[in-house]
Subunit: 512 residues, 2 copies
């Protein structure tokens, strides 16, 4: 007989949840890539049925008693970490009463629909009604979650995406970044000159772009036995660890769109494929967090693929698949990929501007949840923040202002910080990786990425959720979260060297 019957029971229950989440992931993939429009209503009903089943299993009160019993059992380190993650999952699922969860589903469905309609019409007033309701419910949900976990309401929302993270830490990190990033961006723009990379003349057949994306899957070591590439309106990584479905989006006028998004999703995909197979089905076997996930996509997209070394690797691939052009020569490619120019749209932002878009959203959503900002006052606050952080005027332009992202209409407050956390983590991983492996530029240029993958696999992918995030980072890099590596990375790439002007101290929140 097992010495850990309660833990064994928990594993069985989570195995069942894992199976149902497999179905959920595949159906979501199908919905985004394949499903014809007439299938929407029947699919929504079927998915709601499934979500109800999953929610029922995750919030089953018997889990709590089993968790308490398992804590008294002789568990090894891994099982203890598993129980820690099981507790997190149970709190997440059981803290929100079903009636609130249901109201949230309805309100966000209505608001997301309004978003699609009103964004196109630049109609803030039309969006405001549904959005007020989403915000009201998000505040209530945050309060419930916070109460259950002993956290500040906004922190409880952040914690869903980035376990253990809180607004105070994010404030320190983001204030630190805001201390040097705007001046670095200004300096980079002076340095790059005024000759913007030109629009690419002519068109690029989708089939050729697809072949290029397939070639990139090989460059980045994607396991085609356990996944595939398709296309969708918004690129994403879906499916399950055993069958990772990535998508990209083909723009007939700009092959760099699909190139960048394919590489980005490949980072997510390798993380998913690199999770330890023996742990799959247990919460400890899940990816650590949204920020850590993003750190892998940005390791590929930013750390590797926007380097001079990779541009020299990319140039012949572009010429091979799309035909030779001056714009596909190594230096032109690098200039295009590292061109810095603040704009209104987050998803189109360059590597330097991007964090400033995130800082704005972090400040606003925190204020929205805490109640110091009301839905009605969001546009004015947005205009003010854009002027301060990016020196851009968004007054009256809701479509490219506070209506540009889908996140809040879906009630996803607390998600935005993950993007910049990912960029910061990625810089930390690569600083440590260079320390361990030595210079990696020649390897990147020659296409020998395996040592980089092996490093990421051993430090990140294979660790799954075994450690809480700070320990994962400490074990992998020897450091705690700070923006220094990010600052050095950007300084070297955009100012041409880690000079004193871009050097900084240690620790979160340090301001030079």
């Amino acid at each position: 007989m097992s010495a850990t019957p309660a833990y064994d029971d928990l594993c069985q229950r989570h195995q069942r949840i894992y199976h149902l989440q497999h179905l959920e992931a595949m159906l979501a993939w199908d919905r985004a890539t394949t499903m014809p429009p007439g299938g929407v209503a029947a699919r929504a009903a079927a998915e709601a049925e499934l979500q109800g089943l999953i929610q029922g299993h995750r919030s089953d009160p018997r889990l709590m008693s089993a968790l308490k019993a398992a804590e008294q059992e002789p568990l090894d380190d891994l099982a203890q970490a598993d129980v820690r993650e099981m507790w997190r999952d149970w709190h997440d699922a059981s803290s929100v009463p079903p009636v609130l969860a249901e109201a949230r589903v309805l309100a966000t469905a209505r608001c997301e629909f309004a978003w699609r309609e009103q964004r196109a019409r630049n109609d803030w007033a039309g969006f405001l009604g549904p959005f007020r309701e989403v915000l009201r419910l998000a505040r209530e949900e945050a309060a419930r979650l916070g109460e259950a976990r002993g956290l500040d309401p906004y922190d409880a929302l952040v914690d869903r995406f980035e376990p253990g993270m809180d607004a105070a830490t994010l404030t320190g990190l983001f204030d630190s970044i805001c201390g040097w990033l705007p001046s670095m961006l200004a300096a980079a723009r002076v340095r790059q000159g005024t000759q913007r990379p030109p629009a690419l003349p002519g068109g690029f057949p989708i089939a050729a772009q697809r072949a290029l994306s397939e070639a990139l899957m090989d460059v980045f070591g994607f396991d085609r036995q356990r996944g595939r590439l398709d296309s969708s309106a918004h690129p994403f990584t879906g499916g399950v660890a055993e069958d990772v479905r990535i998508t990209t989006r083909y723009n007939p006028h700009d092959p760099f769109d699909s190139l960048n998004s394919t590489i980005h999703e490949l980072g997510h995909a390798r993380y998913a494929q690199g999770l330890p197979r023996a742990w799959l089905g247990r919460p400890v076997g899940r990816a650590r967090s949204f920020g850590i996930h993003e750190s892998q996509s940005l390791s590929f997209e930013m750390q590797i693929a926007r380097s001079a070394a990779f541009a020299s690797r990319l140039a012949p691939l572009l010429a091979q698949h799309l035909g030779p052009r001056p714009e596909f020569e190594s230096e032109a490619v690098l200039r295009r990929l590292t061109w810095a120019e603040p704009g209104l749209i987050r998803v189109a932002a360059d590597e330097l501007s991007y964090p400033l878009h995130i800082v704005l959203r972090f400040r606003l959503e925190r204020a929205l949840i805490s109640g110091t900002l009301e839905a009605d006052d969001l546009p004015a606050a947005w205009d003010e923040g854009m002027a301060e952080l990016l020196d851009l005027d968004t007054r009256g332009n809701y479509r490219d202002g506070c209506l540009q992202d889908i996140h809040w209409s879906k009630g996803a407050f607390g998600y935005f910080p993950s993007y910049t956390l990912g960029a910061v983590y990625a810089a930390q991983w690569f600083a440590a990786l260079r320390r361990d492996l030595g210079p990696i530029e020649d390897r990147i240029a020659s296409g020998d990425l395996v040592p980089i993958f092996d490093w990421l696999e051993s430090r990140v992918w294979s660790q799954a959720s075994r450690w809480e995030t700070p320990e994962l980072l400490q074990r992998g890099t020897g450091r705690r979260l700070d923006a220094e590596a990010f600052r050095r990375h950007l300084g070297e790439r955009y100012l041409g060297g880690a000079d004193d002007d871009v050097r900084s101290g240690d620790g979160v929140g340090h301001r030079p």
Copy 2:
């Protein structure tokens, strides 16, 4: 308050089953069309979880008490038909004990695997072991089902696919067909001469064949808002009525492969898309049976698409998509599509030979289930039947003999008769349709198929499972099941006229 609380409760329960079956259908589609090989194990576990849930709902004992209560409620005709179908579903799900169902899943998985291995090696001995076990369990299952329904064991298996059908009726029908079909086949072969349609020289790009299949979807009125076409190793119609997924298979050397299978699946698809939307989610809203389903695919593939009129419609489409050739001229197309030549393989059989393959399988599987034939003696019985029915020698050729079909290895006994029932029903629908609409050849030639679709929709598609099959047929055609219309159809097509030689009497089992 509702006057039919028990029936309302049943509808809710079946709505839930319907949602779960939506998930099941989509996952099966993905598995057959999309899933990479490495995803198999995780998918199998997830699908097994789902199947367990569905089975649990379908066999829930509370259904039985609700059904008994509903029968006392003031139900309208449609609800009464719904309850009749609910009873059928409940019996089907609850008559087989879970331990037997589980043993069956394991044995058929093993046998299907053996089939893939041993068929390729022509190794009957290697297949026999797993097949004995599948047969043993199928006999037990048939006995249980028969006991629960008060049916002979083999009839209980047939009833799963063709509700209300039994071996005696099938024997009558098939004996009748065997009375005239072999001589008709012989006469057709004399009439067609010895000049077999030649193999098509050169290749046919998949993209061009796909465009042809897409064009056929329009010809046959497929609603692209509620479905799509993809490719798979074995063509099938899957998905759900709201989102019908058909597949075809492209042979680079023969565009008639995909053409025929696309048209066949389009018949299944229009039936599914034509089910009354208001009834979806209730058992009465399901397609009537496998035989009726096949009658729709064969209405498209055989009744319409192998006619001289349709060949004249097809010829310009072939030339447009694949380039003009002598083989794509109207008469050559018709000759190719109606070439009759007995062969070993059922799925490659022409319209005249096909029923003889089915008769063989019906006789053998009935004997296997009743115990008058043992697994060990199947090859000898197969050889004997092939010699008798098709005058072909299969001795020692298991691969193209009794190992050619996957069905029995999966335990699907009772399924084969549906194919020829479908052909017989299709001929009856079209005899009635011609009686109602007058000659349809000009309409088919001009591409005006809408009156045909409207007729099928009103008589078959929109009726779903409202009537038991004999009543459905009687209401739609004014006749009961008999092979006369089939005989006339084949006689006109293959002997060039409904002369006395091919005229027959009325009723099942009539032998001229």
